[in-house]
Amino acid sequence: MKISVEYIAKLARLAVSGEEGEIFGSQLNSILTYMEKLNELDTKDIEPTSHVLSLNNVMRDDVLKKSISGEDALINAPDHTDKFYRVPKIIE
């Protein structure tokens, strides 16, 4: 399996330079080769485990509770107006 760093980096929203991409490419390929060890096992009828505990929906009554203020929600924003996060223009 040969991983396309360029394609994956784009999916992952990571800008990767050419040189960096080459190093990642060879490292990721050797890790993936190691992971192919899993193919030694026949798992045809084995259920996948996504979680070790038996999970149930946790329900609660729909009661109003205090949440953090709009001001607090914005304190860590790199850029914001008085009420909103501000991002680079999306629509031309």
Partner: protein
């Protein structure tokens, strides 16, 4: 004796007998930090001012004669647990200025019981690593040998406990991140059962594997902290709705007749001879205390590292998608929104985090999901079954915590796969969701600590604590401290 050397129960006794003031204990610890922190570099942030305020509140409660279990006890918290109003960085440049507007459940529970927050400790960025060398800020040093790594990812917490820069600490463990640094620093590290401790406010790495636990000077302190942090939390739907026992009650009970499983797959080629000998001696010691060793097999052990790195990186790629430079954290410039995302993440994340995000993005990508992600989930089932099977005949499983003692800084940074393989003995425990503890069981000829891992059944921390305590009380290893 210097006050910073106290453990939780010793400090509790002195504080409650009014022979010690919370502020004096704090003075001693900050003095210790002033003296050695330049060398150890365990902390990302110190919260001295807040600590003295907390000490004052605790002292007033102690003075009423009705102290809480942690009143006046100074602790360090791994910097991936949110502390309201206090910098929480995950040792990542992308969160270097992040101040949480809310408190994690664990620190809120510690607060309710009177603890004092000394500061936040260094980790491998987003808890991805085994040495703290992946920290976005600096590498923590092993207090036993400053040229060596303290283990990771909770290396800052483990080093701080070992060096006497705190009385106890919290860490988090996704593939060994509490147990391995505890082993390498000669302290006690407990990863509870998945679901035993709320993850609310723990910055997510791999949500089906992450678990918060304790790093302490001895087994009893671990039990004391577990009493405080365990239990169902309405804010974490994966926290188990089970009653929490008093974990200190079983300490001191005899372990006669306890069956300890020795998995043959854990005594492998390439394992350090001194580690192997120490662990085998520890098993003999347990036998002399009445435990019955039973050879067992965990046949899928050799697939654990591959399974783990597929699942953990997949979950990480999804969890870390939130760092986009919009709501919090670092933002880089870009000519449009996409460009801003790409640059923010490229500049904000370190190399190992990027590597794992890409690996996880790949294994979840269209056309590869079944071959990697689903396959790994199926093997996870097989690994879990191995443990279920073993626990039909034994009460505890005993293994080395790490195949070697602490390695040199820089020794494994070039080859990510070699670094991953250093987690070989701890990873299966997270995949199966069972509890595991590392306790000191010896030293190499270079005077580096060696750890013994005890693994228990789901929600049976009591048995591993009981056996660990019995071992600890019949040995002197836990009393040794680094000469720093």
């Amino acid at each position: 004796m210097e006050l910073y050397k106290l453990n939780i129960s010793e400090a509790r006794e002195l504080l409650d007998r009014k022979e010690l003031k919370a502020s004096d204990l704090l003075d001693s610890i900050y003095k210790r930090i002033d003296d050695i922190e330049d060398k150890v570099k365990a902390f990302v942030t110190l919260t001295k001012e807040k600590a003295y305020q907390m000490a004052e509140v605790s002292q007033r409660i102690i003075d009423t004669g009705k102290s809480f279990p942690l009143s006046g006890i100074p602790m360090a918290i791994k910097d991936n647990m949110c502390t309201k109003g206090i910098l929480t960085t995950c040792s990542s440049k992308i969160l270097a200025n992040f101040i949480p507007p809310y408190e994690s459940t664990v620190t809120s529970r510690l607060g309710d019981k009177g603890y004092i927050l000394l500061g936040k400790t260094n980790l491998d960025e987003f808890a991805m690593g085994s040495s703290t060398e992946n920290s976005g800020f600096f590498t923590t040093k092993n207090p036993w040998d400053l040229e060596r790594i303290p283990g990771g990812s909770s290396g800052g917490s483990a080093a701080a406990v070992a060096a006497g820069e705190c009385i106890a600490a919290l860490g988090s463990d996704t593939g060994g991140s509490i147990r391995q640094p505890a082993s390498l620093c000669g302290v006690v590290g407990l990863k509870p059962t998945y679901g035993r401790v709320s993850r609310y406010g723990l910055v997510a790495f791999a949500s089906s594997l992450d678990q918060i636990g304790t790093i302490t000077k001895n087994v009893k302190d671990s039990a004391i902290l577990m009493n405080v942090i365990s239990g169902n939390d309405p804010l974490d739907s994966t926290s188990a709705p089970l009653p929490v026992p008093d974990f200190t009650k079983v300490l001191g009970h005899e372990i006669k007749g306890i069956k300890i499983g020795i998995p043959k797959e854990y005594f492998i080629e390439g394992m350090d001879k001194e580690v192997e000998l120490s662990v085998k001696d520890a098993i003999k010691k347990l036998e002399s205390l009445g435990a019955v060793p039973v050879e067992i097999s965990l046949p899928h052990t050799e697939y654990a590292v591959a399974t783990y790195y597929v699942l953990a990186t997949s979950e990480a790629s999804s969890n870390l998608a939130r760092y986009d430079g919009v709501k919090y954290g670092f933002r880089a410039e870009g000519k449009d929104l996409m460009d801003m995302y790409m640059n923010t993440r490229a500049q904000g994340f370190g190399v190992e985090v990027k590597r794992r995000i890409m690996l996880g993005t790949f294994t979840l990508s269209s056309g590869y999901y079944d071959a990697y992600y689903k396959k790994a989930q199926q093997v996870r089932t097989l690994i879990k079954r191995d443990f279920d099977e073993a626990f039909k005949t034994v009460d505890v499983i005993v293994t080395p915590t790490s195949p070697t003692a602490a390695f040199k800084i820089g020794e494994k940074t070039e080859d990510p796969l070699q670094m991953y393989l250093s987690d070989i003995f701890t990873i299966s425990v997270n995949l199966a969701g069972v509890p595991g503890i590392s306790i000191p069981c010896g030293f190499t000829s270079n005077n580096l600590p060696i750890g013994l891992q005890l693994i228990g059944k789901h929600f049976d921390e009591e048995t591993i604590l009981k056996v660990s305590y019995a071992y600890e009380q019949s040995t002197e290893w836990h009393k040794r401290r680094p000469g720093i």
